[in-house]
């Protein structure tokens, strides 16, 4: 059971994590401006993707759908 010490040393190799299909995850956070979270979609990757999107600028209005890589100009601060 002891997969990892708190110091981060592996005691026993971790068994594979079940993968979350990342497309669903991207859809769920697309309104924040996220276009990719990487694989596997771990909680930390999702958090980092949200932080990166926030740092890039305000989310594009109506960016909930797929595609639409280019920001529309003149939308003003959302």
């Amino acid at each position: 059971m002891a997969l990892m010490t708190a110091g981060g040393e592996a005691i026993v190799p971790a068994s594979p994590m079940p993968l979350t299909p990342s497309g669903f995850v991207v859809d769920a956070v697309a309104h924040l401006g996220v276009t990719d979270v990487g694989k596997p979609a771990t909680p930390e990757r999702v958090w980092r993707a949200i932080q990166a999107a926030k740092a890039e600028g305000p989310p594009r209005p109506g960016s909930g759908g797929a595609g639409g890589a280019a920001p529309t100009s003149g939308g003003g601060p959302a």
Binding site: A2, M4, A6, G7, T42, E44
Partner: protein, 275 residues
Amino acid sequence: MIPAPFEYHRAESVDDAIQALSGDHDAKLLAGGHSLLPLMRVRLARPSTLVDISRIEDLTYIKESGDAVAIGAGTRHHDVANSDALRELCPIVPFAAAQIGDPQVRHVGTIGGSVAHADPASDMPSVLAALEAEIVVRGPGGVRNVPATQFFKGLFEPDLAHDEVLTEIRVPKTQGRGWSYVKFHRRAQDWALVGVAMLAQNGSGPAIALTNMADRPLRAAGVEEALGGGSDPATAAARAAEGSSPPTDAFGSAEYRQELAKVLVRRAIEEAQSR
């Protein structure tokens, strides 16, 4: 992997165990074995003798004792999790015990073993630190009662001499006091990425202790101070990472854990204040 060779001694009593430990500096106690044996298999632990205390029936009990509930160190996590007395008198303890490992682990692992192992990623040490529980330790010189807030001195470093046995954990009765234990992990049986044990204010001020945010259970002093001063949960929780030094490992970076701590502390405060 196969452990290095060792001797085996089944202790008939706590005194017998103390005697066996006194005669051999490299002997180690075996209770449930669910923390020790994995370490022995990869030879991070190489005890000369295992002194098995798992069959000492005197160490298995849960009983009221004045304004506390006394839990024998040999009590299995499963029995702690399902104790009616604890559910009534100190509900955070059985709730947290039910979050440890998986059913197999909880039927074999013991509360005393988990506490004596002093793994900062374990759930019970931070719960006891928030409760300001007492750890009862017996050695050749007699009995000592150590506050849980002082018992954990560092990574795998309990306040235990090599010839001392942790015999009892005394948790205060907390009826009427709001509480919460929030544990974030990726799979049900995992260690906490971060855990938060919280007891709401009741004259003595709110108490919050964090799992896996330092080399020992960490009291979130900044959050406690803010709550005591009347801050709302979100404002107080923003101070959750103060003084922390969480690990970075395959499950998450230190930076992520610090962010996670703020979120989980807010949830814990809200839950504790609502009940």
